[in-house]
Subunit: 405 residues, 2 copies
């Protein structure tokens, strides 16, 4: 597997564009409309938010992807079209206009929105913007599309890899947005992945679900889950590889590529968490089950007290042990070892459920880095799970408090 | 039921004291050791933290209260004696010294600690402080005791009520500490309730559990659950009321009094939440079950985005609906109405899952108050649950971040 520059328009037969159409009215010419199109029909799969309150475009896309096929994705930022007046009509209008302009079937268009909740979307801006975006579709448009997905994200998020399947070059590229499970008024984690691999739809769907489970579902910025979360993969088969229709060597290579794309984008989202100054990785090793390791790692990564301690560069293992303790999982604290590591080194701070004498200066050096790992060993079994999050800072409060003074 | 001034030493036969013994070494003469004693044996009940990681004094008290009897509580602040070297030995020493000085049985003494996790407690200071505290025991000592329980609490927390049972005056007084489910390094919610009521132990235990369930278990400051949480009630029977041994009029009056004491102290803890500027109450009405109403109200009160919105005095109902949505409970968003209220008035901001046109100035007036209620109506049934929390502020990050610059 080779990491290359690129994103959603890098795989054969995909084009993308990102423009400013006017949904983000007050932010100059910031891009707010993205279009991702395949020149031929794709095998497609998606995962959507588990929130009981779903945005109109989520319901539309859930319905349109039922047949496992798609040609295009239209996505706006600046308004989530969630709990908003005429949401269903406007989502349908975005779909219809895109289908008309591209000359594709209605139910081959997927719609995604991200931004403010509860306000009517500026549908006129989007309707007039879609032809403009279509005119700009190109194989270099992936980057513009990744910018057009952003809300309060500080950086755009793309990744692309090349693999070889039976002698054929296959490309898997993706773009994501999100700097919190949900934003101030701004919803959503969005991820779009495109590939020219030829993949059976059931296999594609299974690979996406599994990849999302161990990547996007293991990051947390504030524990809130958006009304709009959407992750879509489109595979148009133009790479000409022998169709992946069952498990085997090609399946594993392709699955690794999709997993890498998802993990890379997930970590980028955690690192770009609202107000975050640090990427926090929590590795739980030696658990008796994957579920337990996952629950405990997520409990630690979500703990406001652990997050603020990391912001404060404070080797506060008591909070880590405490967050493990209220995770709901059974375990023996006397078997637990907690350590911190970063590129500055690593240090154990607690073992057997009790604190260790440790070098505070060394701990401070380690925690001063921008990427910190909390290492937890449970001595129970062989399961290991990694979860990603970020620190909790003044800026998180500022961004979300929108303090009116 | 009459609310009177007083606390844990107000009921007949109870004395208390609070002194500085030296556990809080760096904080001048701040009180850090509390003693609460009954002149005769009490029927006693307690609830303890559900955290899998429990402090040594919690294990000791869980064991000593098994027989449903107690005479005294010894409590220190400044060190939680959790995950700490020689924790079990030191908790046992606190128990033994208190029993010796008071001339009571070892297993009639309950021990509680709150403060830093993972550091060895200054047992010498406590051992020499216990006789000094015993010498200061008085019927006016409840207030000192409530101060000696405090860690980063800004205010001490006491309440006392008088009821009449079959012509006999009965007093129920309590003291609590806690300004987060868990503190920076500082663990714990502690609550001690004393009464001169004569109550069967099973009834007392049932009443405490039920009262805690609908009060202390429905507050959240940061969602973290401490290693030391302890709530104890002691009833010495000196009021001379006919023993409450079954449900009936006296049972109801007494239960209401205990419930009021718990609720008042719980709300004081939420209002004194770390860095909090506002007390947030979430009322969920019209739910199809109590469990659902509780889960949803707690999900809303815990949401960092709802909490920061309240800090920002932002009528952000989208975040309320979103927090309901990821609570895990099934409900129909189209039946939900969300409103905000305070002593400045009330306003509905969302109904049928969609935003309402509302007067922003009026909303700002309402949210500018220090005590705000989020009103949620579900149109599903008759269940109603109230939960309490606070806003998430810069000071929460400051207190917990302990930022080293």
């Amino acid at each position: 597997m080779k990491v290359i520059n690129g994103g959603v328009s890098s795989a054969k037969g995909f084009k993308a564009a990102g423009i400013h159409c006017g949904v983000k009215a007050d932010s100059g010419d910031k891009k707010d409309l993205a279009l991702i199109v395949s020149e031929c029909m794709c095998s497609a799969a998606a995962t959507f938010t588990t929130n009981k309150v779903k945005a109109a475009p989520v319901y539309l896309s859930m319905n349109n992807i039922k047949d496992g096929q798609a040609r295009a994705i239209v996505c706006n930022s600046g308004n989530a079209n969630a709990c908003a007046p005429n949401g269903e009509e406007h989502a349908a209008a975005m779909c219809r206009k895109t289908a008309d302009v591209l000359g594709v079937e209605l139910n081959d268009v997927l719609v995604a929105s991200t931004g403010v909740i509860g306000h009517e979307i500026n549908i006129d801006a989007i309707i007039s913007g879609i032809p403009e975006a279509a005119a700009k579709l190109s194989e270099e448009g992936g980057e513009d599309a990744s910018y057009a997905m952003m809300t309060t994200d500080l950086v755009n998020k793309q990744v692309c890899v090349e693999i070889e399947l039976d002698g054929k070059k296959v490309t898997v590229g993706g773009a994501a947005k999100g700097s919190g499970m949900i934003h101030p008024n701004m919803g959503t984690m969005l991820c779009f992945i495109t590939t020219d691999a030829d993949v059976d739809n059931d296999i594609l769907s299974e690979i996406l679900k599994e990849s999302v489970r161990v990547t996007f579902n293991r990051i947390s910025v504030d524990g809130d889950t958006s009304t709009n979360d959407t992750c879509i993969i489109m595979a148009n088969g133009l790479a000409g590889n022998p169709k992946i229709a069952s498990k085997g060597a090609d399946y594993e290579i392709f699955k690794e590529a999709v997993g890498f794309v998802c993990k890379t984008l997930a970590v980028k989202i955690a690192k770009d968490g609202e107000g975050a100054t640090k990427l926090i990785t929590c590795k739980v090793k030696g658990a008796s089950s994957e579920a337990k390791a996952e629950t405990i790692s997520m409990s630690v990564i979500k703990s406001p007290l652990v997050k603020t301690a990391m912001f404060g560069e404070d080797a506060n293992w008591g909070r880590v042990l405490c967050a493990m303790g209220y995770s709901g999982e059974e375990f023996d604290p006397l078997k637990v070892t907690v350590g911190f590591s970063s590129k500055a080194g690593s240090i154990d701070v607690c073992t057997g459920g009790k604190g260790l004498e440790f070098d505070e200066d060394k701990a401070s050096e380690i925690l001063a880095e921008e990427e910190i790992t909390i290492d937890i060993t449970m001595q129970e079994g062989d399961w290991e799970v990694t979860a990603w999050g970020c620190d909790l800072t003044y800026d998180y409060v500022k961004i979300n408090g929108d303090y009116r003074t």
